[in-house]
């Protein structure tokens, strides 16, 4: 670690992992509610658990992105953070606000929460993923602005690199598009149309910029490949992401009452959306193949490669699977969407945050890489989580196909609830895979505490294979 203020990232990463655990625990509860309908009812009904699950995901990923920015920006800019105290202050504000919001979800009925946070003054609650009380949303904006100010000043007054500039555009876009969450018209079609300005333009737009720059940073560090080469790739990949992704928003406008031309535009452009992910895999493979040194942190390299492959699989392939309008007509709003959502979020965003944690945590703890035994445990957790996520996706896809066939495609369609009983077997298997994911996550946390001898970078003479 070259700059002292980089260590603020540690705070953010610990919080991120903590919230990640919470997210997965609620995921396991949700999976069980799918098969045992009255589990925890009426104390924690499904909608509350789901809200906690998805909101925790968003919040911990934001913590992860912020931590990543605080770690890499000083090093890239070659100066200390502009205002370390502000970063610490915002951390606590964000953590407390986030915790209070989650507690609010769990302790009082949602309608009561809306009442006590005076949602009627500026109604923004009750829409998928944007369930946070208006006051929390304002808090998020404040935290984001302070964060961007801090990061932006550091970048602009220090050395400017492609990675930091791309990261900055991504973060600014993140803040700007979040503003659409305050627009909640009475007209349901308009409401849905602009709701996607937050959701789609986040996950298939600006977040991809953040993800690509984080990945590029870690790859430069662990492979020692020339920065010039990596930066060209970075530009081309994110250019493709935006070229396909911006109008690709159209694939959400198929069935909400928007004009018919979105069927064509949405299909054409979202057919291109796998390309950036495809290129990201090619890029990561190429850079690792061309590596100039064997970095002792094998786990970070594994996470980086895994991110590229799983993002391609989850966001690219599983997205393409049901994005064309004639297919989406049948699959829209079924378990296929759930399958895609799980793998895309895990593959693209969860894994990229875990990649940067894996790379930076040992450095912040005063060594180049975790010891060999810890890395082995970490790699086990990688495989457990990744493979179980593949299975979760496959089982949900199976459930989705069966659901589409029985409920939408067959000549004698079944009712929703009757269909759900028919696909129960898949929900049981998904729950099993979910439990294995939880085990993987526990191993991941254990890996931070495993003791052993340090691995140092001594050319290629010390490697994980010898010690494990």
């Amino acid at each position: 670690m070259k700059y002292e203020s980089q260590s603020i990232a540690k705070l953010y990463f610990i919080a991120a992992i903590g919230l990640f655990v919470g997210q997965i625990l609620f995921g396991v509860i949700l999976g069980l509610q799918y098969v045992i309908g009255d589990f925890l009812f009426p104390e924690i009904p499904f909608n509350v658990a789901r809200m906690v699950h998805t909101n925790l995901l968003i919040v911990w990923l934001l913590f992860g992105f912020m931590g990543a920015a605080y770690f890499l920006v000083p090093e890239e800019s070659e100066r200390e953070l502009y205002a370390p105290w502000l970063a610490k202050l915002m951390f606590w504000i964000f953590l407390v606000a986030g915790a209070l919001t989650i507690l609010g979800y769990l302790l009082v009925p949602y309608a009561t929460l809306a009442e006590i946070t005076m949602n009627d003054l500026l109604p923004t609650m009750g829409r998928e993923f944007l369930e946070q009380p208006t006051i929390t949303k304002i808090g998020i904006v404040v935290v984001l602005l302070a964060f961007i100010f801090n990061i932006g000043m550091t970048i602009l007054t220090g050395r400017k690199t492609v990675i930091t500039l791309v990261l900055l555009t991504g973060l600014v876009g993140l803040a700007v598009f979040f503003l659409f969450s305050f627009y909640n018209p009475h007209n349901l079609v308009l409401d849905k149309y602009f709701w996607w300005f937050v959701v789609h333009l986040w996950v298939e737009g600006v977040w991809e910029l953040i993800m690509a720059s984080l990945l590029a940073y870690v790859l430069i560090k662990v492979t020692g490949v020339d920065r010039e080469v990596i930066e060209k790739w970075l530009y081309i990949i994110i250019a493709m992401a935006l070229i396909s992704g911006i109008i690709g928003t159209g694939h959400h406008f198929f069935w909400i009452g928007a004009p018919d031309y979105w069927q064509w535009l949405g299909s054409v452009f979202s057919a291109l959306e796998p390309i950036p992910f495809f290129m990201m895999t090619l890029f990561a493979f190429n850079v690792v193949n061309k590596r100039r040194r064997d970095h002792p942190n094998k786990a970070a390299t594994l996470w980086a490669l895994g991110t590229a492959v799983m993002a391609f699989l989850g966001a690219g392939v599983w997205g393409f699977l049901h994005t064309l309008a004639p297919v989406n007509f049948y699959t829209h709003g079924t378990q296929i969407t759930a399958a895609h959502g799980h793998m895309a979020f895990y593959g693209a965003y969860v894994m990229v945050v875990l990649t940067i944690i894996s790379y930076s945590m040992p450095i912040m703890r005063g060594r180049e890489a975790a010891n060999a035994r810890a890395q082995v445990v970490e790699m086990w957790s990688f495989w457990l989580m990744t493979v179980s996520m593949v299975f979760i996706t496959l089982f949900l896809t199976g459930a989705g196909i069966l659901q589409v066939y029985l409920q939408r495609y067959s000549e004698d369609p079944m009712s929703f609830m009757a269909t759900q009983e028919k696909v129960e077997i898949f929900y049981w298997m998904r729950e099993g895979a979910g439990l294995i994911f939880l085990i993987g996550l526990i191993l991941y946390i254990i890996s931070f505490f495993v003791k052993g001898e340090d691995v140092k970078m001594l050319g290629s003479s010390v490697s994980i294979e010898e010690t494990s």
């Binding site: 081309i236 250019a239 493709m240 004009p259 031309y261 064509w264 054409v268 452009f269 291109l272 190429n286």
Partner: protein, 196 residues
Amino acid sequence: MNVRTTETDEELPRLLPGDFAIWFFIFAELLVFAIAFISYAVARIQNVEMFNQYQLTLNRELGAANTLLLITASYFVVRAIHAIRIDDVKSCVRWLYLSLGCGSGFLLLKSLEYYEKFSHGINLSTNTFYMFYLSLTMFHFLHVILGMVILLAIAIKAQRGGYTAQDHIGIETGASYWHMVDLVWIILFPLVYIIR
């Protein structure tokens, strides 16, 4: 896609003119247009009669004139490259401005065409044929504007002596993009205006 930077590369014949980066963009754009053209074909098969009927309302003369303008513009761009190869900056700039003139002519004629259609109350939601006609040609229209912005940037840089016989990769890059715009129109024009 090749990131090798070894010196031996220059011994190999260059496959694509201009900066390699632009080819990613051109490739993506061509893919968009290709998928859009296929979609058009599919939609046409489903509604042959409707497509044939409304196709007759399109102004073929203007379309043909526009085709001519774009091909001429492409020719001028080629002349500009030939000029810079013998270090003739002056005529290079002249050819570039001439092709910009052709591009402007295209935009003008196309605007006239749109004006006529819009004054009949036709828009993207009128029917499937007009939806395709408008979205394909307008999307192409925007590409012509983008191509012209690129050509203008190149012309200004050339005027200031930014290119030489040895170093004019920027012009080749812009020219490659412009040819792509031209090519798309050459496919689009018969597809939407003529083929029945």
